[in-house]
Amino acid sequence: MITVHIQYFAILREQRGVARETLSTPATTTAALYDELRTRHGFSLPRDRVRAAVDESFVAWDTPLRDGQNVVFIPPVAGG
């Protein structure tokens, strides 16, 4: 188990009900972590519509997660 800090934005923040949380997870990749959270919180967005960012950089879904990292899942963007 590792501990990660998660920040939620936009539709994920609303569906989760909080903007930040710190949690212990058996997930070893960002993909596994999103799948775990989606199941637990009923996120409407499938993983292929979302991107992952770790410590303020976009990362691939198979990037290994390390203890203490900051993770953000990025819903489809809509600036402008």
Binding site: Q7, I11, S44, L45, R49, A78, G80
Partner: protein, 147 residues
């Protein structure tokens, strides 16, 4: 310079920051909150950003613009918060010796910003509904996620 701003933007000051004796052309893009989207009357918008990553990705876009086009300066500022019809949501300005590069780079910056920068938009409709734009998923009623 690419910034996320919680305060109203000041286009005149932003454009002055692009002044340069070598520049003969300056093209700006302003994104305004519009009273309709996909045929639905819109009353207001909430913009939200993951600011640190938005500013990193935005800086990357401006660097790409400088590489692709013969420009002198480029700035993009995106507003976040609750905006009303007519409010300025995003400002892009590009200066260049010649107008072709200024137009092309300005277009590139706003296109890439809309496609890549982690900014999100929630529309509030006249009928009380709201929707996070681009976040509809199969099975959602109409084309929007209702929340």
């Amino acid at each position: 310079m690419f910034r996320i701003s919680t305060e109203p933007l000041d286009p005149a000051a932003l454009q002055r920051s692009l002044a340069d004796a070598h520049a003969g052309a300056c093209v700006t893009f302003e994104g305004w909150v519009r009273d309709h989207n996909d045929g639905r009357p819109v009353l207001a918008l909430d913009y939200e950003a993951y600011a640190p990553l938005a500013e990193k990705e935005g800086a990357r876009i401006l660097a790409e613009a400088r590489e692709k086009f013969a420009i002198v300066g480029a700035v993009c500022i995106h507003r976040v918060g609750s905006l009303r019809i007519g409010d300025l949501a995003v400002w892009v300005g590009v200066s260049a010796a010649h107008r072709g590069a200024a137009f092309d780079a300005c277009r590139f910056v706003i296109d890439e910003t809309k496609a890549r920068v982690p900014v999100w938009k929630k529309e509030h409709y006249a009928d009380g509904d709201t929707a996070w734009i681009n976040c509809a998923t199969r099975g959602d009623h109409a084309a929007a996620v209702k929340s």
